[in-house]
Structures are given as structure tokens and as C-alpha cells.
Assembly symmetry: C2
Homo-oligomer: 115 residues x 2
């Protein structure tokens, strides 16, 4: 667990949100970010329907987010050879770097919080 007081939690959120909206960080929507972090933090395999269930959104939402983040090279699609109905969503080098930097930013903002 991480010990975090309510005011610290809110301040942390504010600072990271401000960094995001000021374009200090690339601008992904909430859902895109949730998808991205899930792919990079949760163990594979990741499928469109799995992600849709996890986020409680419809599959086309995932498809479109994959389109967008695929174009940014943050994620990649691969057809599942064992069942070609499935698309497996994989990590990329660029995506891993993006997620690492995001994590570093959050850590940095946390470090600036009053005790």
C-alpha cells in the first residue's frame, strides 16, 4: 500500500492533469490511457473483447482506440494464429517508453507534494 492523504491525492491528481492538458504530456483520453495502462501493466493476452469488458465499453470503442494509439505506435495488433477471429494487442517499444515517462512524471509530481 501507499500512504496518501486525501489532500495529497487531490493535489497529485491536479498536478498530473494540469501537466497533461498543458501538453507537457501527450494528450490521450481517459479511456485511451486506461487501455494503454492495462495492456502494459496487466499480463497478456489482451483482446478487444477483454479490454471492452474490463473498461465496460463496447468493442468499437476499443477498435477505435487501437486505431488511434496504433497510429502513434503505442500499441500493435496481431491476429491470433490459434483462433483467427481474435486480435491480440501487444506492447511496442514506443509505448513502453511512453508509459515509463508517464510513470516518471507521476512519481515526480508525487515528490513535490507537501508532507
Amino acid at each position: 500500500m501507499v500512504a496518501l492523504r486525501p489532500l495529497q491525492a487531490l493535489r497529485l491528481w491536479q498536478q498530473v492533469c494540469l501537466a497533461e492538458v498543458r501538453n507537457e504530456m501527450p494528450d490521450l483520453s481517459e479511456r485511451q490511457l486506461a487501455i494503454l495502462l492495462t495492456v502494459y501493466l496487466d499480463p497478456p493476452p489482451h483482446t478487444v473483447r477483454g479490454l471492452a469488458e474490463k473498461l465496460k465499453v463496447t468493442k468499437p470503442v476499443i477498435t477505435r482506440a487501437l486505431d488511434t494509439m496504433g497510429a502513434m505506435r503505442l500499441l500493435a495488433r496481431h491476429r491470433d494464429e490459434e483462433d483467427r477471429r481474435n486480435v491480440l494487442i501487444r506492447r511496442t517499444v514506443e509505448g513502453a517508453l511512453f508509459v515509463e515517462r508517464f510513470g516518471d512524471t507521476v512519481v515526480a509530481k508525487a515528490g513535490e507534494l507537501a508532507p
Copy 2:
């Protein structure tokens, strides 16, 4: 400061984002949330231009966000009596409750993180 390791930071972000997109929490855009937290965490006075500068967005963005969050009673507009060109953005009871609950959710998710 708050001691947070990169993986914890990312996990925290993931869990709160997932809670948000699953509608466990009301769905505000990143910018709306940044505006809301700024009004509730930073000392007044808050003006449209001040918020626009802080977020590095244009004034109509703030106006629209105020429309949306005003309708949700999370924020209120008051014309500044000393200079009637200004609109002062004030806190509301509902907004304070919302922000408090948001903070509690973040704290709860932080409490679930692996050490």
C-alpha cells in the same frame, strides 16, 4: 513529498482511470477535472482568463467547461462587483462533496497498491 515508485504510480493511475471510465465515478474530461481541482485546491479568486492561462487553453474552453460543470452544480459563476467584466468562479457544496469523494477514491486505490 510522497514516496511512490514508478510501478505504483502507474498502477494507481490505471486503477483510478478504470474506475472513472467504468462510471464508478462521474465522467469529467481531463480538462474539466483539471479546472475543478484547481478551483477547489488553489486559493481564490478564479477567473476565466486565469484558468485559461493555467491550463494553456483558450477562454471559450473554460466558458464551456463552466457551462457543463455549472449544470452539474459542481461550480458556480458570480459576476465580480468591483469589475463587472470579470466572472468569479466559486465552489459549491455539491462540488466540494464531489472532490472529496474523488480524493477518497484515489486514497482507497493507493491503499490497495502492492508495497
